[in-house]
């Protein structure tokens, strides 16, 4: 794909605690993510992006959707650190999650990583990245310094 967005890939030891399912439709997203490709679907009729990617545009219900790169930078809308976790995530607790507003207008929720030297707060600039577990990828966000966007 031209103008593809390439995210940093951070290898993680171990396997995914709760692996996402893939469909014939979403496997393009997950297999791309494994290689750092950050993308979602855009409606070819109403031109709106949506995330997670969907085979039917939620805005106009068109089925003419195409893959488009997503921007990798955004700001934190909110966050929490989960101490009481479901049993499959217990070994990872406590862990931080957040809501990210990407610069291209898409809001998403994901794991936060690399938070140790930051005071997490709404408005904090973040960058998307790939956590590559032994059995597959997850998208996540990490804080970045205002003046060093990469």
């Amino acid at each position: 794909m031209s103008n593809a967005t390439q995210l940093a890939i951070v290898p993680v030891a171990g396997t995914l605690s709760y692996p996402p399912r893939q469909s014939a439709f979403t496997q393009a997203f997950w297999s791309g993510l494994r290689e750092g490709r950050w993308q979602t679907t855009c409606c070819e009729d109403c031109s709106k992006l949506t995330f997670p990617p969907k085979p039917v545009c939620p805005h106009c219900w068109s089925t003419r959707v195409a893959w488009r790169p997503l921007g990798s930078f955004g700001t934190l809308y909110s966050w929490t650190r989960i101490h009481a976790a479901p049993s499959v995530f217990a070994s990872e607790a406590p862990y931080a999650v957040g809501i990210v507003d990407l610069a291209d207008g898409v809001r998403l929720a994901c794991r936060l990583t690399g938070t140790e030297s930051f005071v997490l707060a709404p408005g904090l600039p973040v960058e998307m990245l790939v956590l590559l577990y032994e059995d597959g990828p997850l998208f996540a966000a990490r804080p970045v310094r205002d003046d060093t966007p990469s």
Partner: protein
């Protein structure tokens, strides 16, 4: 005049640990609890078995061994009906939907008397195991659950955002828990009744930051039965009742999070459902005497209070801290003790909210009676208040 629905009878067990572990010799059986509650509620209402023509049950938890619980109970009660008999499900909104659909049965003329009832048993299942199911309810199971989101994590993010936007403090949020515990101390149905202090609330271990143990709901079991009737039937019995004056529903078209950025702490579905309910009732928020909110966490009570217009935007936490929402305050909220202290057996939680309204509006709330209570409101919700169902009830002496 159009037909109206009245709430004429209630029964409930105290919320707490009722479910037995699989290895216990004597088991607590859900249908034995439920048949007793039906008998008690129908006696409270003053109607006869033959008058009941519709029953709307809340879906039991998957841990309840008896399947098709609703029709099984019809057999236990030898209750023949010509209206509807069903189980409804809508996550946290389940019990509010049971009430709403039972109202519909009467409004449609299918029944003169209808029951909204159910049981939620889960306390013998550990929190970590229960979360294996609940984590799949509040987002996209592939795109969110895989990152470890849990239901109350979303409310925690509301709290972070609210404190950021409005400068609210942990102490102001914690005041909701202290106030609700005080209310619960006066409610025999409540799960936790020992008074707590603000210092105790803010010093609890974190569960989902910034919320600590006392900011989030306990787990527990509960069961309740409501008797609804046409106002004609209610009036003929000669006992006090509460009439449903307004109803509003709104689903905001998102599930947990909208990928088009919006104001996530405005709870627009609650705003719109409240507006519809007030409009139907011909009242404003200022006319309410009490509000019984579906608010699993302290922050949620604050945000719903603002969304339904009983507190100004950004002022809900301050109002709780200053006692405006306490018994005797400007607008008492969660006089039952709320979800944080009365308890939160999720699928039947709203049944307890209507039980509280029935007690208050029939002048039977004892030490926690709101003096002269005439208009009360109850809410139900799902997601992060992505959908809200609101009823306004009025006392009819």
């Amino acid at each position: 005049m159009s037909r109206r629905v009245a709430l004429i009878g209630t029964s409930a067990i105290p919320i707490g640990r009722h479910q037995t572990a699989d290895n216990e010799a004597l088991q607590v059986l859900e249908h034995e609890i439920m048949t007793r509650l039906v008998s008690e509620a129908v006696r409270d209402a003053g109607v006869n078995k033959e008058d009941i023509q519709s029953l709307v049950f809340t879906l039991p938890r998957p841990y309840t061994r008896q399947k098709y619980f609703h029709t099984f109970l019809m057999g236990q009660l030898r209750l023949a009906c010509r209206g509807s008999v069903m189980e409804v499900m809508g996550n946290g909104m389940t019990a509010a939907l049971a009430f709403d659909k039972a109202c519909d049965e009467i409004l449609l003329g299918r029944a003169e008397v209808a029951l909204a009832l159910g049981i939620n048993m889960e306390s013998a299942v550990s929190a970590a195991e229960h979360m294996m199911s609940s984590m799949r309810t509040t987002g996209d199971v592939d795109f969110h659950t895989s990152a470890g989101f849990t239901p109350i994590a979303w409310y925690a993010m509301d709290a972070t955002r609210y404190m950021h936007e409005h400068g609210a403090t942990r102490e102001q949020l914690g005041a909701v828990a202290v106030k609700n515990r005080y209310h619960a101390s006066l409610n025999p149905l409540a799960q936790y009744r020992k008074l707590i202090t603000l210092e105790e609330v803010v010093s609890q271990r974190p569960i989902v930051e910034p919320l600590g143990l006392y900011d989030v709901p306990p787990r527990g079991d509960g069961a309740a039965c409501l008797v609804l009737a046409s106002e004609e039937v209610a009036g003929s019995i000669g006992r006090p009742y509460a009439v449903v004056r307004g109803r509003g529903f709104c689903h905001d078209g998102s599930h947990q999070i909208s990928d088009v950025p919006n104001d996530m702490i405005a709870f627009t579905s609650a705003q719109q459902a409240a507006r519809a309910a007030y409009g139907q009732a011909g009242i404003t928020a200022a006319d309410l005497d009490l509000a019984e909110l579906y608010a699993p966490c302290t922050i949620v009570e604050v945000l719903v209070s603002e969304a339904i217009g009983i507190c100004a935007r950004g002022q809900g936490a301050r109002a709780a801290f200053e006692g405006e929402t306490r018994l005797g305050g400007r607008i008492p909220v969660s006089t039952s003790g709320g979800l944080t202290s009365r308890g939160h057996p999720a699928y039947v939680t709203s049944l307890y909210n209507y039980v509280e309204l029935a007690d208050q509006l029939r002048g039977r709330a004892g030490e926690r009676q709101v003096k002269g209570a005439r208009l009360g409101l109850a809410t139900g919700e799902l997601g992060n208040y992505n959908a809200a169902l609101i009823h306004v009830l009025e006392a009819m002496p």
